[in-house]
Amino acid sequence: MSRRMRQWKARLMVGLLVVAVVIAVLPLILILGMLLYKGATSLNPAFFARLPVPAGETGGGVGHAIVGTLLIVGAGAAMGLPIGIGAGIYSAEFAGTRLATITRFVADVMNGTPSIVVGVFAWAWIVATQKHFSGFAGSVALAMLMIPMVMRTTEEMIKLVPNSLREAALALGYPRWRTSLLIVVRTTLPGIVTGSLLAIARVAGETAPLLFTALGSSYLVTNLNQPMAALPLVVFTYATGPYQDWHRLAWATALVLIVVVLVLSIAARLATRQRFHGS
């Protein structure tokens, strides 16, 4: 094969790869562009601070949904992260045990479960038994989605810790549990933080599990025991509603939601990077 032919082929292959990259990134750019175009003009202090106005009127904001998302996701993280991280530490440190194997399998199945199934489950478990919708039920649904994600990332992070580090701690006289807690977990902390932030970012945008649990509300609710608004629910309601002004708000809310997710993802990136610069 001639040299020109070889070079031409190499260029062709690289070109094809670049096309694939562009096609992969294009949707994200289009979505962001569309959201900015349609939503940015509606972003003003009132949008963040005010509550919805009655249907048909223009104006109003999504302050209630911002508060609702913070509370629901916050409570969900408070429940889900410790359990997920704890289970992850267990299945990494006691990898050979039967319980760890079962836990890992269950987590993998749960990771693949559609979120709407989790929503229906939370509905049957909490909403149906309490006989009312609540932000708390939404938190439980989100926690159930977070646990397997956080568990698996924690486990993978801990597995990356070289065994020699563990042995060094044992050889210093550290008991096993303290080796796990102080050396292994401390070493993997940036990774665990990253996994947690990514899990939070993932569930912050979940709509399906909240439809059956938090339900949504037009008022500013801070009591987790009552139906609550959340950003994805607002997008869902406003985008499918019949009013022009609702559509405008839905675009703006979607923009806020994606910015929140983006910020969390960037924070996760920064947390990971710290590890390579040392403490």
């Binding site: 060094a168 044992l170 006289g173 550290y174 303290r178 070493t187 040392g278």
Partner: protein, 272 residues
Amino acid sequence: MVAEAPREEAPAGAPGRPEELRPRIETLALTAFYGAHPGVKDVSLQFSANHVHALIGPSGCGKSTFLRSLNRLHEHTPGTRIEGRVLLDGEDVYASGVDVRRLRRRVGMVFQRPTPFPMMSIYDNVAAGLRLDGRVPRAALDETVERALRQAALWDEVKDRLRTSAVALSGGQQQRLCIARTIAPEPEALLLDEPTASLDPQGTQRIEELLVTLKAMFTIVIVTHNMQQAARISDTTTFFYMGEMIEHGPTRQLFRAPRHERTEAYITGRFG
């Protein structure tokens, strides 16, 4: 402690033996299993105090396993088992009721690859073993950390950056840091598993010089792949082959006039 008593009147340990020849670490018919396979077979050895003892032999000959049996680290590998006895100052370390944590405080260990704890500063690394027993007064901790770093010949290089990350140090510095961390709690014996295998010649030389000075304070057992290293720094050398102890003796004699054919073949480079 009987060290204060006049030696002639109150001989410690085995009667009729001078103190310095009394074995600090002794193994009796030690066999270490991985599952059903014995990695170390029926090894009886004595390591006297304040000497450097080298363990040599080809890869997989059991010398590391033997070393890891002395501080009971071997048992952390799943499916392993020990037969025979390991005596530290005459006490069986495998006896029931032995506090493994105390044993490991008395017998420190340094590994092939430097193992600084990555999220800790240089200072915290050295203090890691000391903080195990709860809070130590700040001044005492500072003093011990400085002493350990000086003994490990690292103080001058790190004294201005004790609070910075330990992983920023060079490989050789990291290994000396690990030695400082190991000797900070003042163990009696020091086990080293190929401590210079991942270092450059300069780093290796510094560690070797360090070990020769440290034997004044500790009983040192070192596993090494490097026969020149064993010849340079050790007082006794033990040759392992296929899990068995083939020959044990003063280093000079073992290298100059090995009694076993296999030892001779190994040290002259005919196999291994």
